[in-house]
C-alpha cells in the first residue's frame, strides 16, 4: 500500500493572495453596488422635478387666500376652498365607512376564519377587487348608490363609491399587518386559556396597529386623488360656497372636489390664468404628501414602541 497523498496546504500569504478571481469578484461587487445606487437615485429625481416644476408654475397664485377663497368669475379668479372642503368631506366620510369595515373584516378573515376554500375564495376576491380600475368602481357606484339605493347624485354616493374602492386595499393591508405578528405569540396566549378576542386585543392588535394605520392612511391619499369615481356619483364642476365656510355641503348635496377641479380648470374653462391649475395641483399634492408624512411619522412613533 502506498502512503496516502497529503494535499499541500498553502502557506498563509498564498492563501490570501489577490488572484484574478478575487479581483474580478471585487470589481463585480463595485459595479453592482453603483448600478443599484443609480436606480435608487433615479427614483427620487422625477419626484423632485415634478414638485419643483409645479411650485415654479404655481408661484403667482399660491397664497393662503388661494386656499381659503372660493372660485370666482367662472373659475378664472379666486381660490379653491369649495373644492378643498369637498375633498375633505369625501375622503373622511369614505374613510369612516371603509376603515372599520375593512379592519374588522380583515381581523375576522385572518384571526377567526378557518383556512378553507371559502376563506381562500374571499381572499382571492379581495385581491382582485383591489385591482379593479377606478372607472369600474365609478360605474358600480353610479348603479348601486345613485340609482338603486336612491342616494342620488350626492356627497354620500361619491363617498360610498370611494369607500368601496378603498375597502379591498384596506382589507389586504390589514391582513398583512396581522400576519406580521408571529404565530408563536398567539399559541402562547391560547395555551394559557385566553380566548381569541383576548389574544387579539392584548397581543395581536398592539403589535400590528402601526401597519394597519399606515395601510388606512395611504388609502386617504388614494381617495383624495381619484377623479373618476366621484365624477360619476356626486362631484360637480361648480357649487356656490361661502369663503372659508366649514360645512357647506350636506350628505345629499353635490360637491366640488380638488381632483375634479384640477380637471375642470385645466381643460374645461377657456382663458384661465395659467398658474391656477398648477396651484390647484400643488394644493392637492401638498395635502396628499402631508397625509403621507403623517402616516410615516405615526409609523415611526408606533414602531419605536413595538415590543419585539
Amino acid at each position: 500500500m502506498s502512503a496516502p497523498v497529503v494535499p499541500a496546504v498553502p502557506t498563509v500569504p498564498a492563501r490570501f493572495a489577490r488572484t484574478p478571481h478575487v479581483a474580478r469578484r471585487e470589481r463585480t461587487e463595485q459595479i453592482a453596488k453603483w448600478v443599484f445606487f443609480a436606480m435608487s437615485v433615479s427614483m427620487i429625481l422625477p419626484l423632485i422635478a415634478i414638485v419643483a416644476y409645479l411650485l415654479y408654475r404655481a408661484a403667482p397664485s399660491l397664497s393662503l387666500e388661494f386656499l381659503l377663497d372660493v372660485p370666482r368669475k367662472g373659475m378664472r379668479e379666486g381660490g379653491i376652498w369649495s373644492a378643498f372642503v369637498g375633498t375633505l368631506y369625501l375622503v373622511w366620510i369614505s374613510l369612516a365607512v371603509a376603515a372599520p369595515i375593512g379592519v374588522l373584516a380583515a381581523i375576522y378573515l385572518h384571526e377567526y376564519a378557518r383556512d378553507n376554500w371559502v376563506n381562500r375564495l374571499i381572499h382571492l376576491a379581495v385581491i382582485n377587487l383591489a385591482g379593479v380600475p377606478s372607472i369600474v368602481h365609478a360605474l358600480f357606484g353610479l348603479g348601486a348608490f345613485v340609482y338603486a339605493a336612491r342616494f342620488g347624485y350626492s356627497v354620500l354616493s361619491a363617498a360610498l363609491t370611494l369607500a368601496i374602492m378603498t375597502l379591498p386595499v384596506i382589507i389586504a393591508s390589514t391582513r398583512e399587518a396581522l400576519a406580521s405578528v408571529p404565530k408563536e405569540f398567539r399559541q402562547a396566549c391560547w395555551n394559557v386559556g385566553a380566548t381569541r378576542w383576548q389574544t387579539i386585543r392584548r397581543v395581536v392588535l398592539p403589535n400590528s396597529i402601526s401597519g394597519i394605520l399606515t395601510g388606512i392612511i395611504l388609502q386617504v391619499s388614494r381617495a383624495a386623488g381619484e377623479t373618476a369615481p366621484i365624477m360619476f356619483t356626486g362631484a360637480v364642476f361648480f357649487k356656490a360656497v361661502q369663503r372659508g365656510e366649514l360645512f357647506p355641503y350636506g350628505l345629499n348635496d353635490q360637491c366640488m372636489a380638488l381632483s375634479m377641479h384640477l380637471y375642470t380648470v385645466s381643460t374645461q374653462v377657456p382663458n384661465v390664468k395659467e398658474s391656477i391649475p398648477y396651484a390647484t395641483a400643488v394644493v392637492l399634492l401638498g395635502s396628499v404628501l402631508m397625509v403621507n408624512a403623517t402616516a410615516i411619522a405615526l409609523r415611526v412613533w408606533l414602531r419605536n414602541r413595538k415590543r419585539w
Binding site: 378553507n116 405569540f185 402562547a188 396566549c189 395555551n191 394559557v192 386559556g193 392584548r202 415590543r307 419585539w308
Partner: protein, 254 residues
C-alpha cells in the same frame, strides 16, 4: 406506585392531519405527581400529543382526533369551557416565547384572561410564579421592562412562570431546553423536581439523558406508536422490554 391516582388517561388516541395519521391509537396513563418522560425521535408525534391534551390541536384545521383523553376522569373533548381546560394544563413550547408585554404582564396575562383584576392578588401570583420558575431574583427590580428583552434562558423561565400562573394541575414541557444553555437547563430541572410535589409534569424531550435524570416513568414514542412504557430505570437499563428502546437510548438509531 401502581395504585397512584391517574391524572391523565389516554385511550386509543388517533390523530390525523388530513389523511396522514401521526398517532396510531395509543393508550397510556399519567399518574398524579409524577414526572412522565416522553422520548422519541423527531416526527414521532410527541408535540402533537401535547396539543391534544389542551385541545390547541383544534386550531389545526386539518387535524382529526379520535379516541379519548381524560383529565382527572373528565373527557377533554367533551368539556364545555375549553379555556378553563387550557388553564388546567400548563404548556411550555420548545422556543421561549416572551409575549411583547412587560415581565409582570406576561405572568399576569393568564389570571387576567380568566377575569382576575385585583391588583394585590395579581402581585402575589406574579411573585409566586416567578419564584417557582427561579427567575424572581433576577427580575424583581424590573418587572415593568419587556419580557422579550430578556435572554433566551430567562425567557424560557418566564414562559414557565406564565404556564404556572393559572395554577395548572399538569405542566407539559415540550423540549424546553433546546434553545437554552446547560446551566439554565440544570436550574430549570431543579425547578421541575421541586414542582413535582405539587403538580404532575409531562416532559417531552429529545435529550434521553434528561428523561433519565428527571422522569419517574418514561415512554418511548416512535412513529406514532408506543414502543415501550416503563419506569425510567427499566427503560434505561441494559434490558428494556424492546430492542428498539435499548438502541434508541444509546443513540444507535433514531
Amino acid at each position: 406506585m401502581n395504585d397512584r391516582a391517574k391524572t391523565i388517561e389516554v385511550e386509543d388516541l388517533r390523530l390525523a392531519y388530513g389523511g396522514r395519521e401521526v398517532l396510531h391509537g395509543i393508550s397510556f396513563d399519567i399518574r398524579r405527581n409524577e414526572i412522565f418522560g416522553i422520548i422519541g425521535p423527531a416526527q414521532s408525534g410527541k408535540s402533537s400529543l401535547l396539543r391534544c391534551f389542551n385541545r390547541t390541536i383544534d386550531f389545526e384545521p386539518t387535524a382529526a382526533v379520535t379516541g379519548s383523553i381524560r383529565l382527572e376522569g373528565e373527557d377533554v373533548r367533551r368539556v364545555k369551557d375549553v379555556f378553563a381546560l387550557r388553564r388546567r394544563i400548563g404548556m411550555v413550547a420548545p422556543l421561549p416565547v416572551g409575549l411583547p408585554l412587560s415581565i409582570y404582564d406576561n405572568v399576569a396575562f393568564a389570571p387576567r384572561s380568566a377575569g382576575l383584576r385585583n391588583r394585590s392578588d395579581l402581585d402575589a401570583i406574579v411573585e409566586r410564579c416567578l419564584r417557582q420558575a427561579a427567575l424572581w431574583d433576577e427580575v424583581k427590580d424590573r418587572l415593568t421592562s419587556l419580557g422579550t428583552a430578556l435572554s433566551g434562558g430567562q425567557q424560557q423561565r418566564l414562559t414557565i412562570a406564565r404556564a404556572l400562573s393559572h395554577q395548572p394541575e399538569v405542566l407539559c414541557l415540550d423540549e424546553f431546553s433546546i434553545a437554552i444553555d446547560p446551566v439554565t437547563t440544570m436550574r430549570i430541572e431543579d425547578v421541575l423536581k421541586e414542582l413535582r410535589r405539587d403538580i404532575t409534569i409531562v416532559l417531552v424531550t429529545n435529550l434521553v439523558q434528561q428523561a433519565r435524570r428527571l422522569a419517574d416513568r418514561t415512554m418511548f414514542l416512535w412513529k406514532g406508536e408506543i414502543v415501550e412504557l416503563d419506569t425510567t430505570e427499566v427503560i434505561f437499563s441494559d434490558q428494556p422490554g424492546e430492542r428498539h428502546t435499548f438502541e434508541y437510548v444509546r443513540g444507535i438509531f433514531g
